[in-house]
Subunit: 367 residues, 2 copies
């Protein structure tokens, strides 16, 4: 049901196609995040228009609202959110471990209280896989333990031990139907633990592997180093997914390290707060400089927003706290990253990754 083909490599960068139950994902790919079954402010038709091949949603949030029973009764997550291309759901591990005081962890799973109403819930490696399968998603993620950095060595080691244990149990529970299951490599900034985590998960021969536990407090250089280090531990024939990454520079660094898939709330969150993403740098549209600027948000962009509206209009919308502002800037930011990915794919296919990478990073530095 899942097939991944690497068509070209350029340095460590890879150009591939991941065939899933609801269609093909051209890689490298950035996945817009729709935490609660909606990419904030954006319709499925717009996501297609932008060029998104796959979106991400969250087990933790969907489990609490609208809940499994409702989602199944309504025909699954694709039908619920009216999105017919692939969906990947995160396992909820990251969210549960962010709750801290509201959770109770043991070898068998994790018990936590809802941030919505305080109700008690329990995730196990098995029920998290079953939930995602019941939703009919294309890619389910294994329940894992993500540790914030900096972390104590003992804590990291324990997280790797349990992540492997849970991956073994999750794999045993997996139905091997239309839903592919990815493992998540943990181990923080510890080469030995990353090696152990990768080795133990690769032994399960899963359809794909994610790198978790990065972009959680470490420096950009550390993230790049450990992305490259960990990616090299993973099978060349399987897709590699770096979780929680979504700035222009980090995406370039990730692709450079051999990553095929990314997700991050950043482009929509930044968009809601007036922050415009361009390849040559970011800026806040609320700044006085843009009030009478009749140029597009990003002169290098051909998205609907940049070909229709001016910076002055966007500045006005944000200053007037108008709904259309966050909507339009979220759209542009997603389009900017989709277009970056498309150009990266073209560059890799032409074995011209290094000059493309250096061009983007050079412009980003100059801005």
């Amino acid at each position: 049901m899942t097939a991944f083909a690497v068509h070209a490599v350029s340095g460590a960068a890879r150009r591939g196609t991941l065939q899933l139950a609801h269609g093909a994902v051209e890689t490298p790919a950035f996945m817009p995040v729709g935490t609660a079954a909606t990419v904030k402010g954006i319709t499925p038709a717009e996501l297609r228009e932008i060029g998104a091949h796959i979106v991400l949603s969250n087990t933790y949030h969907l489990w609490l609202r609208p809940g499994r029973e409702t989602l199944v009764e309504l025909g699954g997550l694709h039908r619920f959110m009216a999105w017919d291309r692939p969906i990947l759901t995160d396992s909820g591990g990251f969210q549960v471990f962010s709750l801290e005081s509201r959770r109770d962890l043991d070898d068998d799973g994790v018990t936590f209280r809802s941030h919505l109403d305080g109700s008690k819930h329990r995730f196990t490696p098995e029920n998290v896989v079953a939930f995602q399968e019941a939703l009919g998603v294309d890619i389910a993620m294994m329940l894992d333990i993500c540790v914030k950095l900096p972390a104590k060595s003992g804590e990291l080691e324990e997280s790797v031990r349990r992540t492997t244990l849970w991956a073994q149990r999750g794999t045993a529970a997996w139905q091997r139907g239309a839903t592919a299951l990815f493992g998540i490599v943990q181990g923080g900034l510890d080469e030995r633990l990353r090696e152990r985590s990768a080795r133990e998960l690769v032994a399960l021969d899963l359809p794909g592997y994610a790198i978790g536990g990065l972009s959680v407090g470490e420096s950009r250089a550390e993230m790049a180093t450990f992305t490259r280090f960990t990616a090299a531990l993973l099978p060349e024939t399987k897709p590699r997914y770096l979780m929680g990454v979504g700035t222009v520079r980090d995406l370039i660094a990730g692709i450079d390290g051999g990553i095929d898939m990314f997700d991050c709330v950043y482009p929509t969150r930044a968009g809601r707060h007036g922050r415009a993403i361009t390849r040559t740098g970011e800026y806040n549209i609320r700044n006085a400089a843009y009030v009478r600027d009749d140029g597009p948000v990003d002169p290098g962009c051909s998205c609907m927003v940049c070909t229709t509206f001016t910076r002055a209009y966007l500045a006005h919308l944000f200053r007037s706290e108008e709904l259309l502002g966050p909507r339009l800037l979220s759209y542009h930011n997603l389009a900017a990253l989709a277009s970056l990915m498309a150009d990266a794919r073209t560059a890799i296919a032409a074995d011209a990754w290094a000059p493309f990478r250096d061009g983007v990073l050079g412009e980003a530095v100059a801005s």
Copy 2:
């Protein structure tokens, strides 16, 4: 520059075309309101898709932000908001008189303080017309005095006197270029004052006339009675615009009284608050009944929202306070009124207004 042709009448209801600088408006027409140069949450492309021929914006808000200088420098209001069909701007009279303690009225105009920053501004009949002309709108509204109901007779009489005085001065200042100028009939629920106001304004031979001072606190029956009474005082050859009306029943009553144009924030405001408009009644999408309802928002509607998403999904978006909820429900509500107007035009053209009216009102009552 402005031409209005009535193609058909059916009872008092009229089917016409209003030709303006930026295109034709088929009447009866409902004008979506874009107070601050944006119909909240909706793009110009969507307004076209919905079938809006004209939108309304507000002199008061645009005067304060982004202001005349910026709007002129950026090429006018159409270019600023990227809408190439007709625009009507309200004169700001209604907003200024809502400020109450912040305004100071005399025969020459009105001085007021901005609700944004307390800065002092002055509207005169002349500068309000000049502002709208500078923005390049298709229809400018005369500065008028709108009195809340119930009102004392002396207050109403004074408002009619000043509204006429200002209309005479506004007409004298009007450039008679691409911007048409409409007068606003006042007089509350006083037949004698309505007659006087209409007579004095009609003497100015303006391109169109609005009925102001209704939908401001009176009963639905009083509004319908005075709409019909006042419409009959206006020239048959000129468009008639009932200000601030936008529920299904009030639109039907207005058309039945001979009205050609309407505007109201209601469909978008209701949409932002989870209230769905249908011809058979309104309901709140947050209600528990809709959480697992896989039908469309309005089974009688063929808009993008109703053909794509379920009530259950909209209920989820509103319960999760997701941006997409207000956006989608505002879209549907505007589409519902646009479709009501289109069907009304068809019914009038076929001289079948009465059965259409009774059908809609009968269903609305039954719901």
